[in-house]
Symmetry: C2
């Protein structure tokens, strides 16, 4: 047979992260490459209780097909959680998705024509880049600063171009580890007000703050222009693949059609278990444990970096989330560092896959959530040695 593939898939390269994860399957390698939550914190016993309770009380109903919108009680729980944070959302405006990744896909399907223009952060979350690439959008990356995106560039781009979407992770960004300041959020909101640009506000890590103050959501600042994405992957467990989209009714209607066409509905047993778990336990106490652990792991990593990395290497100091972003002196390719690091049995993600039009960048992502404190110290020491030898 000849070439049978669609143009959209032919344009998307193999995932570099997948290749890295293959390399790091070697257990002697200390890996800061993953994006995994700390498995030791998963509420195993509580999930087991919840699963049994669901099967005992709802019986065979939890094994049947269910609605495309998602389990009503779970949607209501999410709405109430938002309300407790001062964000008003009707449960009807919440669609349960098979993880946030499906959120990107449904939004791409519903909103993007080929060539539609989309602003992303630079560096940007690669799962979103991959999905929006499939819908053949045109990317306008805006560099991240320590306080958010560069709003001068935002102003310029939104004046010159007809921008359909602005995709962002304002809290503890992946991969950058930075958060948008209140001022930065306000400027962005005022620049986009009364424009046809829709903000895709992706907030998987928002609950994982271990330092600083909570900031207002774009959904609060300009609700008309904002679609909000959330997930249980980082606060309960990722294996269930349960996230959600908050969107106004006109968009919801189209998203539901796209959801039906994509997988009919998100696995229902998982939705029921997550709801039962949330209903029967104190999620704030659980989140507080995760925050403490990740905060400690982050501190250990920063201390180890301070001690072991050459002085000219810069890094972000995240107030939450799971990632820290390292910038090497200009001219040093993180990809080359990666090759040498693997030989010293330590791994990370070189910056390249987080950019849409740059190669051999001098940046890298380190994950601190899935590695224990002692291992972080050893791994950062190894990485420091590699960097010192390459910079000397």
């Amino acid at each position: 047979m000849g070439n049978i593939f669609s143009d959209r898939i032919s344009d998307v390269p193999r995932s570099f992260i997948r290749e890295i994860l293959k390399l790091t399957a070697d257990e002697s390698i200390i890996s800061f490459a993953g994006g995994l939550p700390n498995r030791d914190l998963f509420p195993l016993d509580e999930i087991k209780k919840a699963a049994n309770k669901v099967l005992d009380t709802a019986g065979r109903d939890v094994l049947q097909y269910s609605t495309s919108e998602g389990y009503w009680k779970l949607r209501k729980w999410i709405a109430e959680r938002y309300e407790s944070k001062g964000i008003i959302v009707a449960p009807e405006n919440i669609l349960i998705t098979s993880g946030s990744q499906q959120g990107f896909d449904l939004l791409g399907k519903t909103l993007l024509n080929e060539g539609d223009k989309i602003i992303i952060e630079e560096p940007a979350y690669l799962g979103a880049i991959q999905t929006f690439s499939i819908y053949r959008s045109k990317f306008f990356p805006i560099p991240l600063t320590m306080n958010g995106i560069d709003t001068d560039i935002l102003k310029k781009i939104t004046t010159e171009e007809n921008i359909k979407l602005f995709y962002c992770v304002p809290n503890f960004q992946n991969p950058g580890g930075i958060s948008y300041s209140i001022n930065n959020r306000n400027i962005i909101a005022s620049l986009l007000k009364n424009k046809d640009t829709l903000i895709i506000e992706d907030n998987p890590y928002g609950e994982l703050r271990f330092l600083g103050e909570e900031k207002p959501s774009f959904y609060q600042l300009i609700p008309e222009n904002t679609v909000l994405l959330g997930s249980f992957s980082k606060i309960v467990a990722p294996s269930f693949r349960i996230g959600w989209i908050v969107a106004k009714p006109e968009i919801m209607e189209k998203l539901i059609i796209a959801k039906q066409a994509s997988d009919l509905h998100t696995n229902y047993f998982g939705q029921r278990i997550i709801f039962q778990y949330l209903n029967d336990n104190n999620i704030d106490e659980h989140i507080s444990k995760i925050r403490q652990a990740y905060g400690k792991q982050r501190d250990v990593m920063i201390d180890a970096i301070r001690e072991n990395f050459p002085e000219e290497v810069q890094y972000t100091q995240p107030e939450g989330g799971m990632f820290l972003w390292v910038t090497l002196p200009e001219g040093l390719s993180a990809m080359e560092v990666f090759q040498q690091a693997i030989e010293k049995k330590v791994a990370f993600v070189p910056g390249d896959p987080f950019y849409v039009n740059k190669k051999d960048v001098p940046t890298m992502r380190l994950n601190f959530s899935s590695v224990d404190e002692d291992t972080i110290r050893i791994g950062i020491k190894r990485l420091g040695e590699v960097l010192k030898s390459m910079l000397s």
Copy 2:
């Protein structure tokens, strides 16, 4: 904001089935409209045991992120099941999907450019029509006969047109209830051999045969041209949303990229439960129970139709699956029958949504799997009265 939607989603109408299901939420209505398996047959106790065993033995690992390809042991189980039926498939060539519906989406994403030509059955499964519509393919419907598709028309179309895909449900078709004869399959295989047309062979009901002999799969007849879809929804339970695609390595590689971009991976706890269930129980015994029950329900429905429907009404006599297809005298719109039937508290799906370019067709789908025998008798009697009064 102006019109922000993509062309692809603007073209897809609201699902008519969703509207019907809303009407039939009224519990006094007997519904043959659904496409649900019989909930009484779900192996609840066994699923509960499997869930607990998975949590007890694998612990927190089942709550973590997993691979895009799916759980290896489940893929291996599927490969061995095929082998037991004489179909040779390597586990590496099996991708676990979030139900067969996601299979359509991944194949659309991977294979279809706008305007690509795709042959479907007439009538066709509407979930597939919906997804392939989103990828803006051009449909060539080929009428179903009692023995498969009309191969004269297939020959004509494949000679005149460059057809990318042929989507079919050769066993106990939804909605038609018919199966392709061996002869029909052989003719189709010989017509498509050495052509660039890929067969999407969707087989969700294949295991649910209560009459007749098993027929060879297109995957056996022309493996090079065939992608095979399967599902646990009808033989275990649908709520987990677990299906699979069998495809050759070149296609698998692209499907995995599409899978990653669509939802990273199918819910892992569900995959583990299904595998544990399959491993610890005799699935053939369970399937045999489903076959017996559905076979009995089908017989009851056919007997009731024979007794209650006007003579000029025709219907298929399925050898398996969940559906029976009714053809009314030409000129009678099943949509009008539907309106009157609802008043008499009985529902079905009028044929319209199963066609891409016809309206007010005189055909309708009846589901016999999700309604008990006594209720089938009452419902068919009511429907017979409606038909008699409309035809008199």
